[in-house]
């Protein structure tokens, strides 16, 4: 500006700019904006905890109140990342405890969190409010007890999908009687029973409680007690939804549900006894989110519920819903934006339920706002994919998982190249794509050409040659994360596209055809990439260059080489003296 703008005014303008992307853009405008912005940035997101170090973050952003960190790569969900790989949060917490006394929120995904880390969190941050541990591991209920006991201003505790050493349910009782600020608690992944009276008291003294997700151990007959104490709930997850059929239990439950006028989301429903399902009918019309993916409910019961959920926006369900249920969904839920259908039994070859590609096509045709799809099925055809692409060009996320690897179009026996090609061609805003079925290099040509907004791509058992990978790496302008397993992609495509790797967050390749020599070369060429060769059989330094690597994880970083790697990871720096051979105590 030809005009001098006082810093504090500029800072005030920046206070209205909150998205990470915009903040990052602001910081790159000029030196003075960079300076102003870094002092007033309150929230940071680190997509790969090894891309930057805590020291660098703290030096740049002196006053952060909210941190989000992600650790292991996504394929860790399929047990492809060996135990001990890394993703330890303790070093971060240790430095934050010194630098950010006013830290309020910590959100972690796929990180290793120890009890010690949790204790440190509970004692270091006086205004601590939000703890979200998504798919994390390494801690026990003792760590949770520390959080409960010490975080006086806690508002949110969300343990979604984490693997927790469940020593006892006693941790919940550590919330002091004076603790009344709870707004959201998700303990669905825990196994052991918590003291019901402690839970009851906690709910009773939390007037701001909006989200309550119970674990399986909370029995059905206790639900009405809790609901009556918290009629203001917006999200509720039941425990095991089964009990002996008793009219008074039923009527109490139905009445309790009907008092929850603000309820918009339901989940849980383990072990369903169908006779109790009508108790939730009174809330169906207000529901926007329904998660039945833990529920053995069968198609007729599911259908009865969703037919009443005219405002439903998000549905997660098992394939028990079947095509017939999906047809009902397409008719009743015109506001549907997200659908996830998980397999009830992925390990049998033959279908155990009557769910085919037709169900998905039906929903895609019937639900005009559908943007995000995750679908497991056992058969697919190019014509179904064409129909999906034509009907839903507004898809932003399309993840298709045909259970049998390399299954072709079941009608024509052709590859599914053309079908997926149609998807990327029509869905111009597609940001996430997972492929499956029988696919040749051709599909990657389509993807490289058309998928300009694609940010994340997952590939398994696909392609014929390096050309496939080359198409993706030389195209896909917006690609950030690429994960590949069991594909015949090798050195050529990788080495011909080295520069692309620095524009991405990470690349995972396992059971492909990349050689050790190529990895070495890549490491030499690109100092700002960490090239991790992972082989649980262990590497010797005398490994022949022509050997193929088992697993390869490449990511850009400004933090330099890792110092916390286990033995089974090879990197260029592994021979240097300072590399610790032991996992740090955390």
């Amino acid at each position: 500006m030809a005009y001098s703008f006082p810093d504090d005014v500029l800072e005030h303008v920046f206070s209205f700019i909150t998205s990470d992307k915009d903040r990052n853009a602001v910081s790159l405008v000029c030196k003075s904006w960079y300076e102003i912005e870094r002092w007033c940035r309150r929230r940071i997101f680190v997509g790969n905890c090894y891309a930057v170090s805590p020291g660098i973050v703290i030096r740049r952003f002196p006053d952060v109140r909210s941190v989000e960190l992600k650790g292991k790569p996504h394929f860790a969900d399929f047990n492809l990342v060996p135990d001990g790989w890394g993703g330890y949060v303790y070093p971060w917490i240790a430095e934050f405890s010194r630098a950010y006394p006013w830290l309020e929120e910590i959100r972690l995904k796929r990180m290793v969190v120890s009890d010690e880390s949790l204790e440190l969190i509970s004692k270091s941050f006086k205004s601590f409010r939000v703890l979200v541990l998504s798919s994390c591991e390494g801690f026990s209920t003792d760590g949770l007890a520390a959080i409960a006991a010490n975080c006086r201003n806690l508002r949110e505790l969300d343990l979604r999908e984490s693997e927790i050493e469940d020593l006892s349910g006693h941790w919940l009782s550590h919330f002091p009687d004076t603790f009344t600020s709870l707004e959201s608690i998700n303990m669905a992944c825990l196994g052991s029973e918590v003291s019901f009276s402690a839970l009851e008291c906690l709910v009773a003294r939390s007037p701001n409680l909006k989200t309550l997700r119970l674990n399986r151990a909370v029995p059905l007959d206790k639900l009405s007690t809790l609901l009556r104490l918290a009629p203001q709930l917006v999200e509720f997850g039941t425990g095991a939804y089964s009990a002996e059929i008793r009219p008074d239990t039923y009527s109490r439950l139905a009445e309790a549900f009907s008092c929850c006028k603000k309820l918009k989301g339901l989940s849980g429903f383990w072990d369903v006894v169908p006779s109790y399902l009508p108790a939730v009918y009174s809330v169906c019309s207000r529901l926007t989110s329904l998660n039945l993916s833990y529920s053995p409910m069968r198609s007729p019961d599911i259908t009865k519920i969703i037919s009443q959920c005219h405002n439903l926006q998000r549905l997660w369900v098992l394939d028990y819903i079947e095509d017939v249920g999906l047809n009902a969904l397409a008719l009743s839920c015109k506001d549907l934006q997200e659908l996830r259908v998980f397999p009830s039994d992925p390990y049998v070859v033959d279908a155990n339920v009557s769910l085919t590609e037709q169900g998905l096509v039906s929903v895609c045709k019937g639900c005009p706002k559908l943007q995000s799809v995750l679908y497991f099925c056992r058969q697919m055809s190019n014509s179904a994919l064409f129909a999906i692409a034509r009907n839903r060009p507004n898809l932003t996320c399309f993840r298709l998982c045909i259970i049998e690897a390399q299954a072709p179009d079941y009608l024509t026996f052709e590859p599914l190249d053309a079908g997926f090609g149609a998807i990327v061609e029509h869905c111009k805003d597609l940001r996430r794509l997972s492929l499956s079925g029988f696919l040749t290099d051709r599909v990657f040509e389509y993807i490289g050409t058309h998928a300009n907004r694609l940010e994340m791509l997952s590939i398994a058992f696909a392609g014929d040659s390096d050309l496939g990978l080359h198409h993706v790496l030389s195209g896909c302008d917006s690609l950030r994360k690429l994960e590949i397993r069991d594909c015949p992609f090798g050195d050529k495509a990788l080495l011909a596209n080295v520069a692309k790797l620095e524009t991405m967050r990470s690349l995972w390749m396992s059971s492909c055809s990349v050689s050790f020599g190529a990895c070495k070369l890549l490491s030499q060429m690109m100092p700002r990439l960490n090239v991790e060769v992972i082989d649980e059989q262990g590497y010797s330094d005398a490994e022949a260059d022509s050997c193929l690597v088992e697993k390869l994880y490449i990511y850009r970083t400004v933090a330099g080489p890792r110092i916390d790697m286990p033995d089974f990871i090879w990197t260029m720096d592994q021979d240097r003296a300072y590399r610790l051979r032991n996992r740090p105590s955390s």
Binding site: I17, F75, D77, C189, R399, T449, G490, N497
Partner: protein, 367 residues
């Protein structure tokens, strides 16, 4: 008898005198001026009641911005207005060019007029959101003083790698040739292909004489040019095209490709080993100097798989000849690539996780 000439005391308004940094002095109704905290403070301190003792406004307030601020105050100081009215006024008020908006924000801040500071700041924030750093600089006329290093720019020109371009070009050319062969075959074989064009259209198409066909060509050229501008790289563009443009381009294509079609020449002049090739990542000039010619690939299927294999083999052959120092390894890798992965799909994973039934419910869901 009426007394229209009597001036009632309530009708007498008091005025405040304000002076901007350039020396000019303005007179403003008191109830409007006191809406600004700074001015209000000065009035209480006894200033501004006469022309000789005007309130000096901070330097950041010039006459134009003062006038805008006073308009704002004049509207909002009226107590009876509804929220809807105020919001509507604000929305219209805020529409001005960037420079003016910046000046106004700054001036409002110096006068401590918080509601206006918030309004203008939000408007500025909206102008910043969604833009790249370069766009923001353009909007606010800010010079770029960050170094490349500071910005951590990734390596530029990621697709100037000659190998990538070669591979792409060869593959695209092969497929195009094949398509043309197929089309020629089809013209003879498929009698049922319906051509809806009139005889006139066909004649003019063939003769390339009249305006219609020229327009068609121009439109196609425009489309090509725009695509070239949009595309910054040489990814094979698979768009549907008709045979006319591919015929137009085939000569260009063969001329272009002939440069690289001669293996010996390529080997002598342009065939680096892989290390050198990778060093070329940073170089700006395109060694092969060819333009983008992929406008005419057909996305459709219909190529005989055997022939497709032949293309793939030829491409790989060529690529292999590029890698003159590790031919055997490439052979190995290629043959590995041809194998089908046999087995069983174990723990699903093409990016869609499935849960394993477990009694503790600790299953992992797809995120």
């Amino acid at each position: 008898m009426s007394e229209p000439d009597v001036i009632k005391p309530e009708m007498m308004r008091s005025y405040i005198w304000l002076q901007t940094a350039d020396g000019s002095i303005q007179q403003v109704e008191q109830e409007v001026a006191i809406f600004c905290p700074l001015i209000c403070h000065e009035i209480h301190a006894g200033m501004g009641s006469s022309k000789t003792y005007p309130i000096s406004l901070p330097a950041r307030v010039n006459p134009v911005t003062l006038s805008l601020i006073l308009d704002y105050c004049r509207f909002h100081q009226v107590p009876g207005r509804s929220n809807k009215e105020r919001k509507s006024f604000d929305e219209k008020f805020i529409r001005m060019d960037t420079n003016r908006l910046c000046e106004l924000t700054s001036a409002a801040d110096s006068l401590q007029l918080k509601p206006l500071v918030d309004l203008t700041s939000r408007a500025l924030a909206r102008m910043i959101e969604g833009k790249t750093p370069e766009e923001i600089r353009e909007t606010f006329h800010i010079p770029d003083d960050l170094t490349e290093e500071e910005k951590l720019e990734p390596l530029k020109n990621i697709t100037d790698d000659p190998r990538i371009r070669l591979l792409n070009r060869l593959y695209a050319r092969k497929r195009k040739e094949l398509k043309e062969k197929e089309k020629l075959k089809n013209v003879e074989v498929e009698a049922e292909h319906v051509d809806d064009r009139s005889v006139d259209e066909l004649l003019s198409f063939i003769n390339g004489e009249n305006g219609d066909s020229k327009e068609v060509k121009t439109a196609k050229n425009k489309k090509k040019n725009r695509r070239r501008k949009d595309q910054q790289k040489n990814a094979p563009v698979c768009t549907i095209s008709n045979s006319s443009s591919s015929l137009n381009n085939s000569t260009k294509a063969s001329n272009g490709i002939s440069l690289v079609g001669h293996d010996d020449r390529v080997k002598d002049h342009c065939l680096p080993n892989i290390n050198e090739l990778l060093k070329l990542q940073d170089s700006e000039d395109d060694r092969f100097g060819l333009e983008d010619e992929f406008d005419d690939c057909d996305i459709g299927d219909g190529i005989d798989p055997e022939i497709k294999e032949q293309i793939d083999r030829e491409v790989e052959d060529f690529a292999r000849r590029l890698n003159s120092d590790w031919p055997e390894r490439v052979q190995e890798l290629l043959s590995l690539g041809q194998e089908r992965r046999p087995s069983l799909y174990t723990v699903n994973g093409n990016g869609c996780s499935a849960r394993r039934p477990s009694s503790t419910g600790l299953e992992k869901h797809e995120k």
